[in-house]
């Protein structure tokens, strides 16, 4: 067994018993990257890897390019943050370092500023899905998901604003969790939409996911939106026991638009959960149809303001210009990609005088209704189970010219962010073409334990998480 193919839990045991060292794991990862990353492109930029993996640290971790690491390039895969090396660590990075987790100097690819569902919108070019190199890995955390799937990383962190951890996890056949809003500090995560963003683990199995969540969770005085609630030991939720868990399937999710194969695989997964003792019933989330429009108003509005600071004054890219206005226009015109510009314009419009009430304010009201749908549902069930994405990975370029179709990739993941609840995507089967499909499990706020318990029980009785792409 090659070290890079093992899980974090397995490797930690080996490090403890001196069968492996951080250095040997890093060496193996570097070798793997040199073998396959030319085809996958999970990582961006070339960095000096000689410092990676010394024995003062334990397991290395791969970070998405929007998570700040002191002294390391962090640029959200955008030209506008060219050369930006933050003088501070994100809180999650500080927590990882404290637990002696090594920060892998390479950052993973992403849609520019996390704007996308395919990782095609990266300044560095697309990442390829390890299961089919002609297909996208999903997005926006496509680099992190592909790196884990291709054994180029042991584990990774991504960020999820509307599905950016779960959808690529689903496309790449790995585990991805979006924690409850406020569970993990956002300090040092370069913001897309502040009220929706959350950092979370992308791992090879549920056990690693629980372990990583243990490390990164918790209240942070540097983030006023992080919540001061005790962090349980998530690995204790991995009992393998699903009996008696009440699961709900939202009828609004199982409608047309879902790929037939995906539908069959998800149905089978739900049946599997039932055989494990879970009790299933249909539930209703009546405001589901508003999720996509509400999301694209709120997320773009916040993004338009969050991204204003990239103006060429202090850091990153600055275009040569003769006056201030010209500098702003050229810097932002040349520094942002197409999708970033589209979203900034959409958000600016939604907040504009005369349109605010009709768009932003109504969207906020609808967001409350969506949240209330979930509150009601969780009075009846412990978990909500649904597909992560209506389709398996699509081809690179297939939706690039159709933003609306691309936005619909997130139809099953977006409501979770709007409601602030936690949700996981775990592998639950493969299509005939050999593409992974993900099962999404949601629970009420701060009940990640319930999600992990059910996901783990499912994983224990299925082989999907052990499958590896041929590269």
């Amino acid at each position: 067994m090659e070290l890079n193919t093992l899980t974090a839990v397995e490797l930690l045991k080996m490090i403890k018993s001196k069968e492996a060292t951080a250095a040997s794991i890093c060496e193996r990862l570097k070798k793997r990257i040199s073998e396959v990353d030319g085809r996958v492109s999970a990582y961006v930029r070339s960095e000096d890897l000689s410092g990676a993996g010394h024995d003062s640290v334990s397991l290395p971790i791969a970070l998405k390019d929007n998570i700040c690491t002191e002294g390391l390039n962090t640029q959200c895969c955008s030209k506008i943050l060219e050369g930006f090396r933050p003088p501070y660590d994100a809180t999650v990075v500080a927590k990882l370092k404290k637990q002696a987790v090594g920060i892998f100097p390479l950052k993973t690819n992403m849609d520019e500023f996390a704007f996308g569902s395919s990782t095609e919108n990266s300044f560095f070019g697309p990442t390829h899905n390890p299961w089919d190199l002609e297909r996208v890995p999903g997005g926006s955390s496509g680099g992190s998901a592909a790196a884990v799937a291709a054994d180029e990383a042991i584990w990774a962190l991504g960020s999820d604003t509307g599905g950016s951890i779960r959808q690529p996890a689903s496309f790449c056949g790995v585990v991805g969790l979006k924690p409850t809003y406020g569970r993990v500090s956002r300090f040092g995560l370069i913001a897309f939409a502040s009220s929706l963003d959350q950092i979370g683990p992308i791992t090879k199995n549920v056990g690693d996911c629980a372990l990583l969540l243990n490390i990164i969770s918790g209240y942070d005085p540097k983030d006023s939106t992080s919540v001061n609630i005790d962090v349980p030991d998530y690995t204790k939720s991995l009992s393998g026991e699903a009996r008696g868990i009440k699961i709900g399937t939202p009828k609004e999710y199982f409608v047309e638009g879902m790929d037939e194969e995906v539908k069959d695989i998800i149905t089978e997964a739900i049946n599997k959960l039932k055989t494990l003792g879970a009790v299933s019933r249909e539930i209703s989330l009546p405001h589901t149809e508003y999720a996509v429009p509400v999301y694209y108003i709120i997320a773009t509005a916040e993004a338009s303001s969050n991204l204003a600071r990239f103006d060429g004054v202090q850091y990153g890219y600055r275009a040569e210009a003769n006056d201030l206005l010209q500098m702003y226009k050229l810097t932002r015109g040349q520094g942002f990609g197409q999708e970033a510009k589209r979203r900034i314009l959409l958000g600016t419009f939604a907040l504009s005088h005369g349109y605010f009430d009709a768009y932003y304010l109504r969207a906020q009201k609808a967001r409350t209704l969506i949240k209330e749908d979930f509150d009601r549902a969780f009075e009846e069930v412990d978990c909500i189970v649904a597909p992560t994405s209506p389709t398996p990975a699509f081809k690179i370029g297939e939706r690039a010219d159709n933003p609306l179709k691309m936005y619909l990739s997130d139809i099953y993941t977006i409501s979770v962010n709007l409601a602030g609840i936690p949700a996981i995507s775990i592998p639950c089967g493969f299509t005939k073409k050999g593409l992974p499909v993900g099962l999404q499990i949601m629970a009420k706020p701060f009940n990640e334990e319930m999600i992990l318990r059910l996901a783990h029980a499912y994983e224990q009785s299925t082989p999907w998480h052990t499958m590896k792409p041929k590269l």
Binding site: Y88, G188, I190, A191, S224, A308, R309, V313, L351
Partner: protein, 475 residues
């Protein structure tokens, strides 16, 4: 046609908290450019603001002192606009749920008072400062993120003088609260004014002008006076007014148009998702209310009642908290029967020394007890008023107590009859003519004789006693 003036003021006040509003950088004037900065106030990507609760306390203090009602539920909003001194390209401010509303401030109006409404007091962060050098524009971010209060008045002010009075009293109140330096030159207090004219008795407001760039209260008054003139002329010559922003040019004494309403900005306000909305508990409000100091207007009223001093004197002594406290300490130290003499010394010699030296009275090093001791010498007629003033100057210069200075300079008045009688005999002998003059009814002659003895005593003779003695000898 007769016009009436309608003025509303927007005051920005820098709070002198220990740290900035949303990070832990220090707040201090005059530091090296870009030395009091951190990734948070520089708006670096990924950083988040965390609200400094000290700012909240100061804001509530000011709002309560201005008789505002505190909003229980409040939040921060983003005001979006691009400018190089604004690192995030949005300012954290308060829009639809400001911390307080509906207050007032009373200003003098003839013999009575006029109540000026205060629309709102809200919290926001300051921007940085641009410095232009030749072709270069440089940014100093030290000021970025310093907490500001915006105090918006109702358009209740009806003359430039009222605006001046409002500012003076507002500053007075804020200084009492000790939450801001209120220094317009250093920019810790800034004021914009909205002014419009309308035909007297008309209900509808006229087209307004927003005035900026005034850097003293006098500047505000002058700019408003200019504007009253300008707008009157425009109205009388039937020219069409447009809503605009004008800058005060103090050197040329005029206002210059900066932008018209068409160029008005859309700030795209929305709730800041990085800062959660919060509730202010009644308990907190009450606690701050209880800790508020006595405010200047109340203090002046109390001085009149408690110390039986005139309204005029009370107003002078309560003009600053520091002087008021110093005065009260003097009153406490003073055991004599007539506080009038202490008040005279405070308002007279002490304040002129303080003004001459540009120091606050309590920083002169005299101390309340020291001043009262000096006053005691005068009251007991042990030294003359004139020499007492010299002693005060010496006390400030040397930090020595009055007793020591009087002793060292041998300033005690000669009040023993024997030595005075000797001097008097000598003078009367040598000035027989004056003695005759006095006896023949020329009153002036007495003063001449007193002066002669005074001279002989090197100014130390007790003048009152001296007069009595000469009078007795000549009668």
């Amino acid at each position: 046609m007769k016009y009436e003036t309608v003025i509303g003021l927007e005051v920005h006040l820098q709070l002198k908290t220990k740290t900035k509003a949303f990070c832990s950088c220090s707040v201090q004037f005059g530091q090296e450019p870009n030395s009091a900065v951190c990734p948070v106030c520089l708006g670096f990507p990924g950083t988040l603001p965390v609200f400094n609760k000290e700012v909240l306390r100061s804001a509530i203090k000011v709002a309560l002192a201005l008789n505002c009602s505190i909003q229980e539920y409040t939040k921060f909003d983003r005001k979006n606009y691009f400018y190089p001194d604004l690192p995030k390209d949005y300012q954290i401010s308060q829009y639809d749920l400001p911390i307080s509303r509906n207050g007032y401030l009373d200003i003098p109006d003839g013999q009575g008072q006029k109540r000026i409404g205060i629309t709102r007091v809200h919290i926001e962060e300051d921007a940085g400062k641009l410095i232009h050098e030749g072709n270069l524009s440089l940014v100093d971010f030290n000021r970025t993120g310093i907490p500001l209060l915006e105090i918006v008045s109702e358009p209740d002010l009806s003359s430039p003088q009222e605006a001046f009075d409002y500012l003076t009293i507002l500053k007075n109140v804020i200084e009492y609260l000790d939450v801001s330096d209120c220094d317009m030159e250093k920019g810790s207090l800034r004021c914009d004014a909205n002014i419009s004219l309308r035909v007297s008795g008309e209900k509808v407001l006229g087209v307004k002008t927003e005035l900026k760039n005034m850097n003293s209260f006098k500047g505000v008054k002058d700019a408003l006076l200019f504007e009253v003139q300008r707008q009157t002329e425009m109205l009388e010559s039937k020219q069409e007014m447009t809503q605009e922003t004008r800058l005060w040019d103090a050197d040329n004494g005029e206002t210059v148009s900066m932008r018209t309403k068409e160029g008005a900005k859309d700030y795209r306000y929305f709730s800041d998702p990085d800062l959660t909305a919060f509730l202010i508990e009644q308990k907190t409000i009450q606690e701050i209310k209880d800790s508020l100091p006595e405010l200047p207007q109340a203090k002046a009223r109390r001085f009149v009642e408690e110390y039986s001093i005139s309204e005029y004197e009370a107003k002078i002594l309560s003009a600053s908290r520091e002087l008021a406290d110093f005065s009260e300490e003097c009153f406490r130290c003073y055991s004599g029967s007539d506080k009038k003499i202490v008040v005279n010394w405070l308002i007279g010699p002490l304040l002129s020394e303080a003004n001459a030296r540009g120091l606050k009275p309590s920083f002169l090093g005299v101390g309340a007890q020291g001043l009262v001791d000096l006053v005691g010498f005068v009251e007991r007629q042990e030294i003359s008023n004139l020499s007492a003033k010299t002693v005060l100057t010496k006390m400030i210069d040397t930090k020595k107590p009055a007793t020591q200075i009087i002793k060292e300079k041998n300033l005690l008045q000669i009040s023993d009859n024997a030595s005075l009688e000797a001097m008097i005999s000598e003078v009367l002998e040598k000035n027989a003519k004056s003695v005759d003059d006095f006896r023949s009814g020329k009153a002036n002659a007495l003063m001449f004789l007193v002066g002669q003895v005074m001279k002989r005593s090197q100014g130390k003779a007790n003048p009152k006693l001296l007069q009595d003695l000469i009078r007795r000898r000549l009668s």
